[in-house]
Subunit: 525 residues, 2 copies
């Protein structure tokens, strides 16, 4: 088969008229000749770090949209499902990804659970990680978040890193604000990327030490506006990634949105394409074609080189930008949370004068620890965590300030990284109503007021929906709208609540064991 | 009735414990005394310039949400409904607003139609404008967009401005990028505000000439990040406004979001409250209380002075932050568009080699005029405009590049400022399907593919829904999702399409008469 147009050769950095000839899944020749056809043929894009679960979509549904936007390969870390379902969760993702033409290269989660104090649904120890790294469908050891562990040469951390080195797969970093001697130790352990740089200075220090920087633009963390000036002097050290993307944003665009922004800002086309394509393919050794004879027939077709909205995407010689929705048949889960009643979440405020309260800050994982007198507790509302793996476990109960729901509650089974059910609301009755609906669905997000329930079922590990992307996007909008109707002032209340169990971020958090003082690194009795 | 707390006196710039005492609708005393109650009592906020129609909600539904966010008064320009229904539309808005406690001070639209070449549904001449300015429910002459008319002392413009001066109501400006001698002439006509400054330099030039600057943060135009540094040196010359806010953004916040940002950036609390409250009340002479004895009992209660999410809003002594949804009973409209068939929008491409095509640019009203050869017309799609007032009028037919819908069409009855039906799509059949659904509903927004129709009915003048805000927000998300599913790459395709009839913005636009070359200011035959 032959496709004619203006061929974009990202290795020789030239554009010439001609045709791409392929047989089966392989390019057999690139021909140069005159053509009146104005379309451009170019390699597809790579998302160098993402968590597919954040879209609340399983791999095939995520892939269906990413392919439309010209993304042909990803490095995907199934960290969330690994925390819930362990190796079975990993295998689910690996097997599902094989049903989809998107070249999903998996990264093996390095930190499951996030901390030994977390009661996650599974543990991936060094043996498990080694076994998964030996699977040819994995391409890296995923973001090594435990940077104190690396700096102090914790044996478990080092065993995982050494396994990756031995097997010949790169180790991804995750080192926000780490610098100086600590950063040098972290890098010298053989960690080669970072996607958490928040300033140019931080990124440049990391690049100077040999790290590659992933410019991230997701639904929550957005670093493009800060980091794009790196493109001018460090094009060889950069990649693009989305990290976490919600369904409505994925509908609108993927890595192509970053290219669009770069071209608008006047960066060189070939520099930008190198970052979006060549750099990640080489760094992770991804089997994605780059329009050379002998390469897999992977490419996209665009009407122009400005907005990068492909009119067609080909993977292994097959057109894949109009795939049908295909539901998952076998739904993995690990869900044993019990129905609860008001008495289960009652607490005795008798005789207590001062209360420890979590303060939520919109758009920030950092949660100040505030103390409120009994008379001012009207400003706070209850927050509870119900263990989703052990039906008779302790229930964590605390107070939080900033959700300010008026006659309503929010409960959900997405809560990094343990993914126990977390809920907050204006009354115990409404919290129970919302939690029990999550329990009934065996996972999901529920907003409840006295008259109405809005919900999104997440039957895949309590993390992902099995519905088409458009229905998921609409359901998310309905949940947010319902929360805003009950006067919650937060822009992203569901995201905010999902981080309240993450005991590695200061100052005060809550788990199924109760309030956790991150500064003292211990539970408040 | 007495309410206790920390009283925020924005005139003396102090906060003291005490109580606000009111009888009926009037504050009778402010008492100073000790109290353990931590809540703050402060005046409500003013949105100094908006178009309620942009939310697609009628006044009461808009008010219901604005009051929850602590906005107690607005200056609202019903420019859109005036273009469709003329004085009847104005009266509808004035009468509806009386059903709601929000103190909506109307501004009289100054430029209906936007240009004599527009075939809008109505004309507001100087006599009409004068009559409306004499209505005590109007507070200003709205944004004088025809700045060439002001500079050249066009008799119709001057008659409207002079009427406002004679009646003692301020004249609002709208002068993007106007500067130097032109700006001096514009200001010397007695125009006292501007909300279109796009840079600090532009704003400072206007302030130096005595104009007040409205810092705008809406759903599309967002100037806060550019203009907030003015707060430090020009607090007496500033107000806040939203201009155009869509339903989902209004659910989340209103003027309180701007206060939140200001406090986060470290600006002085009293400076910010002066801008949000005192400045617009004085400039427009709005009858909103400022917590002085004798004032109307208008105020809000907040738990803190950081996020400005009120726990209660009082207007004229009555709590108004939990109003029920109330549909409009009498729906005004001006809708006579006919059902169309494929033959009505056929055009003869025979023998033509080059085509004039509108290029849409995401997030920009500016539309380049591009020329495409016949062989490259696959990159463009048809766009049509159907006169909604005259059933037998000419149908405008042209081509547009950038919507790139795959097997789908979008049609809508919101299209500034004439609000004729405008539609674009991948085939004539789908354009007809979408347009006819808009016609059937007598106004609305429709996305159609061969199998499915997504729609939002806008029975109030073809501009506003009669449903609750949460349903409107969800429907908008569904429309956008459907467009993104058909691979439209634009972030805001509905907004983009709504500006394609606006023949006062370069370079190429389309009306019911056909393609309009704005640079030559004439139709392309």
């Amino acid at each position: 088969m032959k496709i004619e147009g203006q061929i974009v050769d990202i290795i020789r950095r030239e554009i010439f008229p001609g045709s791409v000839e392929f047989e089966g899944d392989t390019i057999i020749a690139i021909h140069r000749h005159e053509t009146g056809i104005q379309q451009y043929i170019l390699p597809g894009f790579v998302d160098a770090h993402n968590h597919i679960e954040s879209s609340m979509l399983p791999p095939h549904e995520y892939a269906r949209m990413a392919l439309r936007h010209g993304t042909i390969a990803t490095i995907s870390d199934p960290h969330e499902i690994a925390n819930v379902c362990g190796k079975d969760g990993m295998r689910f993702m690996l097997d599902e990804a094989e049903q989809s033409p998107l070249k999903i290269g998996f990264a093996v989660p390095s930190c499951v659970p996030a901390s030994p104090l977390c009661s996650a649904g599974a543990v991936l120890d060094a043996t498990d990680v080694t076994e998964l790294l030996e699977d040819p469908r994995t391409y890296a050891l995923a973001e090594m978040m435990n940077y104190p562990g690396v700096i102090d040469k914790d044996p478990d951390c080092m065993a995982k890193i050494n396994a990756a080195h031995r097997i010949g797969k790169p180790v991804d970093g995750h080192a926000p604000l780490v610098s100086g001697e600590h950063l040098k130790k972290y890098v010298s352990a053989g960690i080669s990327t970072d996607h958490e740089a928040n300033s140019l200075a931080e990124a440049e220090e990391k690049i100077a030490l040999g790290m590659k920087i992933l410019i991230r633009e997701g639904s929550t963390a957005r670093n493009f506006n800060t980091l794009h000036p790196l493109i001018k002097h460090h094009k060889d050290m950069l990649m693009f990634c989305t990290d976490d993307l919600k369904a409505s944003d994925l509908l609108e665009g993927h890595i192509n949105k970053l290219l669009r922004k770069c071209l608008y800002l006047g960066y060189d086309l070939f520099d930008v394409l190198q970052i979006a394509t060549l750099n990640p393919v080489r760094h992770y050794n991804i089997p994605m074609g780059l329009l050379r004879p002998g390469d897999p027939a992977d490419f996209i077709i665009c009407n122009n080189l400005k907005n990068f909205s492909p009119t067609a995407t080909y993977v292994n010689g097959i057109r894949v930008d109009e795939l049908p929705y295909r539901p998952v048949q076998q739904l993995p889960n690990n869900f044993n949370a019990p129905f609860i009643s008001v008495s289960d979440i009652a607490d005795n405020m008798e005789g207590k004068e001062m209360f420890d309260v979590i303060q939520v800050v919109d758009g920030d994982l950092y949660t100040p620890h505030v103390k409120l007198s009994k008379g001012n507790m009207g400003q706070a509302q209850k927050i509870v965590v119900i263990n989703r793996y052990e039906p008779k476990a302790h229930i964590g109960i605390g107070y939080i300030k900033g959700f300010d729901m008026n006659n309503g509650a929010l409960a959900q089974s997405i809560a990094h990284d343990s993914h126990h059910i977390i809920a907050t609301g204006s009354s115990d009755e409404l919290i129970v109503k919302a939690v029990n609906e999550v329990v009934r669905m065996k996972g999901g997000i529920v907003v409840a007021d006295p008259n109405k329930i809005t919900s999104l079922a997440l039957p895949i590990a309590g993390l992902m929906s099995n519905s088409p992307i458009d229905e998921v996007a609409t359901a998310q909008q309905q949940l947010i709208t319902h929360l805003h109707l009950m006067r919650c002032p937060l822009m992203s209340p569901i995201v905010a609540l999902s981080f309240m169990q993450l005991i590695v971020v200061p100052e005060l958090k809550i788990t199924d064991q109760g309030l956790f003082d991150v500064m003292e690194f211990k539970y408040i009795s």
